[in-house]
């Protein structure tokens, strides 16, 4: 077991939220066509509120802190927030479009000890990238920002959301990331808007294109192994937790709302009226999420993919039942292996008609995470004991 896996296991056993994703604002200087957010400010937390929240998160045991948005650097107090987070010894990762990053900002982030900057890039071609962001000149400014971050010595991870409009440019973005000295990850996820609007799902790539994606060595490593039939289902798989949401990680909105995950919009409390730890430990919603065990899933527990599926309880919840199937993950499992899921068979399907899976979601199965997806990429891992 890797040190990271061991830390997560221990955090789950202790009930510690090892990772917190905090969106500092939903405002943004881009208007990406697939974005699930409403960009109006409906009463963001003040600096004092965020400062207090960070202190509570530190005392709760949060180690990995993801600061995101919207575009988090639009906040005038962004650097004060990062400084406060670093003073509390969080491992800080920032998700940004880097449009506002120049030499001075990059050097300041480096001096503050930010561990990684994740920058969204949709294409290596301005006409495609800028069409996604709806901000003319955004690719040029983002590349300048990445160069400044790299020159300052910061690690940069280029994150590429793949949609119909930019799928053909994936290899171009990967090559550009290499040239810039950044790591690269690709994600076919497009999620419904937070207000429930599902029209953005039309931007998703077709399921049939997933199959060719899963044959790409750069993304999945060994396609033969990646696309192998699902492993036999054993007791470990049956008793597994569905994911880290609500177990060792959580999401907090700019308005102080606490959710199990950014992709699991189940309101579980608000830090403006409750202490974070009270929400984390006692929220009925989080307790419900934590009660899910694979063996108890009404459809998925009998699925051949049980041992390798990345069923997202958040996406399942947006489909109506957090214990139900996540159609997008069924789709991925099917196009990866050619084996229909229990959900498909229950619906009388042996293949996916175009558009049946309404939601696109995070991830390739676990093996691919090593190559492409990891939310937190840590290398090398070493362990030292006193």
């Amino acid at each position: 077991m890797s040190l990271m896996a061991e830390l997560i296991r221990k955090a789950v056993a202790l009930g510690v939220p090892l990772t917190a994703h905090v969106d500092l604002t939903y405002r943004c200087n881009e208007r990406c066509e697939h974005c699930y957010l409403d960009h109006d400010d409906k009463g963001e937390m003040s600096f004092n509120e965020i400062s207090g929240l960070l202190g509570q998160l530190a005392d709760a045991g949060v180690f990995f802190l993801i600061l995101s948005g919207g575009e988090p650097m639009l906040r005038r107090d962004f650097f004060d927030i990062v400084a406060r987070a670093r003073a509390l010894l969080f491992n800080v990762k920032v998700k940004t479009n880097a449009v506002l990053v120049r030499t001075a900002e990059a050097q300041r982030l480096r001096a503050l000890g930010v561990e990684q900057m994740q920058v969204s890039v949709y294409s290596h071609r301005p006409e495609i990238h800028d069409a996604v962001t709806k901000l003319p000149g955004s690719l040029r400014r983002t590349i300048e920002g990445i160069r400044a971050l790299r020159a300052a010595g910061l690690k940069v991870a280029v994150a590429n959301v793949m949609m119909r409009s930019n799928l053909a440019d994936r290899q171009g973005v990967a090559a550009m990331a290499r040239e810039l000295g950044a790591t690269y990850s690709a994600d076919p996820t497009v999620t419904p808007m937070m207000d429930g609007d599902r029209s953005v799902l039309d931007l998703r790539i077709e399921g049939s294109e997933l199959h060719s994606l899963f044959q790409d060595k750069e993304l999945v490593g060994d396609p033969e192994a990646f696309c192998a039939p699902p492993p036999p289902v054993d007791d470990d798989a049956r008793n597994a937790l569905p994911c880290s949401a609500g177990h060792s990680s959580c999401y907090i909105s700019p308005y102080g709302d606490v959710f199990p995950c950014v992709q699991f919009p189940l309101p579980s409390g608000n830090i403006r009226t409750q202490k974070f730890l009270d929400i984390w430990r006692h929220s009925p919603q989080l307790e419900e999420v934590r009660s899910i065990r694979t063996v108890g899933l009404p459809v998925c527990s009998s699925c051949a993919h049980l041992g390798a599926c990345t069923r997202c309880p958040g996406l399942a919840w947006t489909e109506g039942n957090m214990r139900g199937p996540s159609s997008a993950d069924c789709e991925k499992s099917f196009y990866r292996t050619g084996v229909p899921s229990a959900n498909m068979l229950a619906r009388g399907l042996t293949t996916f008609p175009v558009g049946i899976a309404e939601t696109g979601l995070a991830a390739f199965p676990p093996a691919a995470h090593r190559h492409a997806m990891g939310l937190i990429q840590i290398a090398p891992l070493r362990q030292t004991a006193a």
Partner: protein, 114 residues
């Protein structure tokens, strides 16, 4: 004997998880876990207290170990972490170590009312 002062690097992240201390260098993303004794040394690394005093006050009393053995182990531990940039080591007091963790401690470090 020249005293040894130790301070936490400002380029690390750290958090207690159960009886261990999780430490990660922002410079190279190297992740460590420190044992309970290591965590005690880490948290006492304020840049002002000599290492032998830290060992005497915090290690020997808490872990029932003789001072000579504890100091030798502590020196080896400090050397290993210093090589990885996790701890700063000097024969003089170190001026600006990292802030301590925790809400109350950080408020204190920032000069805010408790």
């Amino acid at each position: 004997m020249t005293p040894t002062y130790i301070a936490r690097s400002t380029a690390v992240a750290a958090r207690r998880l159960g009886d261990e201390m999780v430490v990660m260098s922002a410079l190279d993303s190297t992740l460590f876990t420190l044992s309970e004794v290591g965590a005690v040394l880490w948290q006492a690394a304020d840049g002002r207290t000599p290492l032998d005093e830290i060992v005497r006050e915090h290690v020997c009393t808490a872990f029932s170990v003789d001072a000579g053995t504890a100091l030798r182990d502590a020196e080896e531990f400090v050397r290993a972490l210093a090589e990885r940039g996790i701890l700063l080591v000097s024969s003089q007091p170190i001026a600006s170590p990292a802030a301590p963790q925790g809400e109350a401690a950080a408020a204190s470090a920032a000069g805010e009312p408790r």
